[in-house]
């Protein structure tokens, strides 16, 4: 049951992040950090199917995470769901066309190793 929750969280989070990243890159770099301008920018971005689908997937991930926290310690739940790091980096490379350098892969591998160590 614990690991089923983890699998749902990983899949939903990755899909959500890919959609959010695509939409935010379409919008372009946010440069005005005054609250009004920031609010308008994010509100404009939110009116798209990408963001709505991303929010729905995030909600799935969130309630799966709440269920997980109710049956497991946070120091299990948080590291176990970190399998998203590998999956998301692959998706960023293959679908979002980001250039993942050797150094970035190494850093991501260290993070993953840390996660495995924590989850064992």
């Amino acid at each position: 049951m614990k690991w089923l929750c983890v699998a749902i969280i990983v899949a939903a989070t990755t899909a959500s992040d890919a959609l959010l990243t695509r939409r935010m890159k379409q919008h372009g770099e946010i440069r005005d950090f005054r609250l009004g301008a920031l609010g308008r920018a994010l509100a404009a971005v939110a009116r798209s199917w990408h963001v709505m689908a991303a929010m729905a997937l995030l909600a799935v991930s969130f309630f799966a995470f709440l269920s997980l926290l109710a049956i497991a310690d946070m120091s299990f739940a948080v590291p176990a769901t970190a399998a998203t790091f590998v999956v998301e980096t692959l998706v960023a490379r293959c679908l979002l066309r980001e250039r993942v350098s050797a150094r970035r892969w190494l850093g991501t591998a260290l993070v993953t190793g840390g996660v495995v160590l924590i989850a064992l």
Binding site: K25, G28, I30, V45, A70, E88, R93, V115, I118
Partner: protein, 137 residues
């Protein structure tokens, strides 16, 4: 700004700090709130709704909404493959928060894992923030 690259780095670190802290504190509040209920959630949707309206869980959700908005802002210029590992430093902080704030047992092995995560996040932090052309420029 006279130094666009330096300015991009600076705002990246500031927004990253907001992303990491709101996530760690938000998750700590959620964990604490769910533990206060003292039993596992059943399948009934109403149980989830009731859990959301307890104070610690509500505060946790408010912090996670801040996390979401800060992360969207960061993703407007930064790579997903940069944001994901760099904000992973929060997982190391979460182990510390679990130990110091919630009194959970954290073994030496888990502490070593947390250190590896911190090292990996730091390494990715030295790579380019943005590798795609992206959006309006």
């Amino acid at each position: 700004m006279s130094n666009p690259t330096g300015s991009l780095r600076l705002k990246t670190w500031v927004v990253t700090a907001v992303v990491v802290l709101s996530n760690v504190l938000g998750n700590s509040c959620l964990s604490w709130g769910m533990k206060q209920r003292g039993r596992a959630l059943g399948g009934a949707p109403l149980e989830y709704v009731a859990a959301v309206f307890t104070p610690w869980v509500a505060l946790g959700i408010a912090l996670l909404i801040l996390w979401l908005l800060a992360r969207m802002t960061l993703l407007s210029w930064a790579d997903l493959s940069f944001v994901v590992p760099v904000t992973a430093v929060g997982y190391a902080l979460a182990a510390a928060a679990g130990h110091f704030l919630l009194g959970e047992q954290v073994s030496p092995q888990r502490w070593a894992g947390a250190l590896l995560i911190a090292a990996g996040a730091a390494l990715v932090g030295t790579t380019s923030v943005r590798t795609t052309a992206g959006g309006d420029r």
